[in-house]
Amino acid sequence: MTVRIGWLYPDLMNIYGDRGNIMTLVQRCKWRGIPVQVDELALGARLPEGLIDIFFMGGGQDREQKIVCRDLLEVKGPALKREIDRGAAALVVCGGYQLFGKYYRPFEGEELTGIEVFDAYTVAGNKRCIGNVVATSALGGPSGTIVGFENHSGKTYLGDGCTPLAMVSVGFGNNSEDGTEGAIYRGAIGTYLHGSLLPKNPGVADFLIEKALARREEGVRLDPLDDALELKAHDSAVVRARKTH
């Protein structure tokens, strides 16, 4: 059984090393002997129904985000939502996260309508939230924390239909106010921790792979991997984050 990863708009939504997340999913499948395939889902392309196990979308600049928003509404959005309700996993970062909510309201110009996977909305903030992030999360592995880097001005607020991915102990998170970071709805994760979230947070990566496998077969358990280097990188990033804030 092959795990199929659908990379949404790889040429438009890939700022700050987002592809590190794809590499991590691919390698962690390969190291376990699980066949894996990456399908690029570009503008205009329709989703192959029932075939993609993990969707990924990164962040983009404003112009790209507008182009992608149109394609999501007109082409892929309804199918994406349906797949996630049927148990597909997803990781969406920054701009991708915002478009998976209800809407993004900029200071000026048109509101961008999202596809409502997450019960969440985003408004433009007047301060850019930049820096290292440490946040406690059930997906945080042995330390119970996830670590990453955020760089966003949008402020996202969650409703009752989803839960936060984590609670921030260093950094700003969703909106700098309520301490939440990211969102989870079923197998879908949205987050402001851009770029390479998964390499240093193998627990999050394995959550997605597990969801993907569970779609096909019940009771699948992932073989453990030697994560010594991953955890060292995680821990030293946590120490660094506390120092640089």
Partner: protein
């Protein structure tokens, strides 16, 4: 000279002297910062003392190399430049260079201001120096946490360039679509340079590529080929914008690995063959940039070529250092595009290499290290004998190498730079070469270590 300017100059000079005497760091920005605080018009007043005016060099990659090369050309041509050669390229660095090169009466030791300028500081530098020539070499995503978006940055640059007197010149890299777009519709004289040889081109974009959309209409660009990141031959199918014809170009290129690059250059009125003693396609662009600028300033082609031939790499960009019976070759890599080019060069020559990768995340490096996932470390597959990862973010780098699947070599991780350097030298073996690829502040720290061991001289020993 105004009284305020004179006072600011004297104070700046005193601070510069003190900082050199007490060795608190070379004084490449502090004197200028203080002088500008005291007299906000300090730079615009001082540059009036330069009979040949000012030249500004900007772009993400190659500013320091290009301006160092241009400085040695101008020197040879008798147009002695006042140059911020330590790479301090914000307004304070420019002001400091003016202070260092002025006597206490305000007379400058040079006739032309040659300033390397940070991309984001270009509008201020244009306003304060009214340059006769502005050169933009390339625009890559470098540290977006500082600059915001590239399109916005380019738009700000253009807005400042438009304000220049129409008699001024703008030199642009034709192969970079975003940079070339700055030239469209300008009243000023525009010169384009680029590479007209596709021998080292590929038909897929390196991952670090940035500018994929037409700056004029937003359409997706069609590329005939790519040379270096998003640089290449392109056109927009929607509005018809395309890579401009070049005034100065490399028409034939042969890469000789670490030994350098051989190329044929075409310029108005002639062609010539040249061997560039430093490796990498990016250095061909730097040579073309310096050539275009110096020809625009009226330097004779023969003088340009003589100076280029004598040129050795600017501080810190590629450095060869002897350490006992081993060689260290240090090459700065501060962003994905530059790093890819370094890897391409290292893997071009045959043989497995011993490599030390040093990743810091200080402000000058960029706090965010996600960019290493945009570097194509996969090019190292099967080409490494040993690799040592070091710096503040040593474990992030080691993880990146692990996921790149580069093969069965030993992967050592040692955050301490001096210790990592020792480990790398041991791994390189007798008569071997250790290739060190650091980010900016890691490079500064490594130089300090090497100075302490008597291997190199400090770059601020200038006067």
């Amino acid at each position: 000279m105004r009284f305020a300017t004179r006072t600011a100059l004297l104070l700046g000079k005193t601070i510069g002297t003190a900082s050199r005497a007490f060795k608190f760091g070379g004084g490449s920005t502090l004197p200028g910062r203080v002088a500008r605080r005291l007299d906000p018009a300090f730079v615009s007043d001082m540059v009036k003392e330069l009979p040949l005016g000012c030249v500004l060099i900007t772009g993400t990659n190659g500013k320091t190399t290009t301006s160092a090369l241009l400085a040695s050309i101008l020197d040879r041509a008798g147009m002695t430049p006042v140059h911020n050669r330590t790479g301090a390229n914000l307004m304070a660095g420019i002001a400091s260079a003016l202070i260092r090169e002025a006597d206490s009466g305000g007379t400058l030791a040079g006739r032309l201001g040659l300033f390397e300028v940070d991309e984001a500081a270009l509008p201020d530098a244009i306003a304060e120096t009214a340059p006769r020539l502005v050169l933009v070499n390339n625009l890559f995503r470098d540290q977006l946490d500082r600059y915001g978006e590239l399109d916005t940055l380019a738009a700000k640059m253009k807005k400042a360039i438009v304000t220049l007197d129409p008699s001024r010149t703008v030199a642009l890299n034709a192969d970079d679509p975003l940079v070339a777009s700055i030239g469209s519709g300008l009243e000023q004289k525009v010169l384009y340079y680029g590479i007209d040889d596709q021998k080292y081109a590929s038909d897929t974009m390196q991952h670090a590529a940035d500018s994929k959309h037409c700056a004029a209409c937003g359409g997706r660009l069609d590329y005939d080929y790519y040379l270096f990141g998003h640089l290449g031959r392109y056109r927009c199918p929607d509005c018809g914008a395309s890579r401009p014809e070049t005034d100065v170009a490399a028409t034939h290129i042969e890469m000789l690995g670490m030994e350098g690059t051989r190329c044929t250059l075409r310029f108005p009125g002639g062609t010539c063959d040249l061997t560039i003693p430093v490796p990498g396609l990016y250095n061909v662009y730097n040579i073309l940039a310096a050539m275009t600028a110096s020809l625009a300033l009226g330097v004779e082609p023969d003088e340009v070529l003589g100076a280029v031939e004598d040129f050795t790499a600017a501080f810190g960009r590629v450095e060869r250092v002897q350490a006992g019976n081993r060689d260290i070759m240090m090459i700065l890599a501060k962003n994905p595009a530059g790093f890819n080019e370094v890897i391409r060069t290292l893997t071009f020559a045959p043989g497995k290499k011993t490599v030390m990768l040093a990743l810091n995340d200080n402000i000058a490096d960029g706090r965010d290290v996600s960019w290493i996932w945009d570097v194509d470390f996969e090019m190292f597959r099967g080409r490494l004998a040993d690799v040592v990862c070091s710096g503040v973010r040593a474990f992030d780098m080691a993880l990146r190498i692990k996921y790149a699947g580069v093969g069965e070599m030993s992967l050592a991780t040692e955050p301490d730079l001096a210790k990592a350097l020792d480990a790398g030298l041991i791994a390189a073996g007798r008569a071997g070469t250790l290739y060190v690829v650091p980010t900016y502040t890691a490079m500064l720290d490594l130089r300090k270590t090497m100075v302490e061991r008597g291997l190199v001289t400090p770059y601020w020993e200038d006067n």
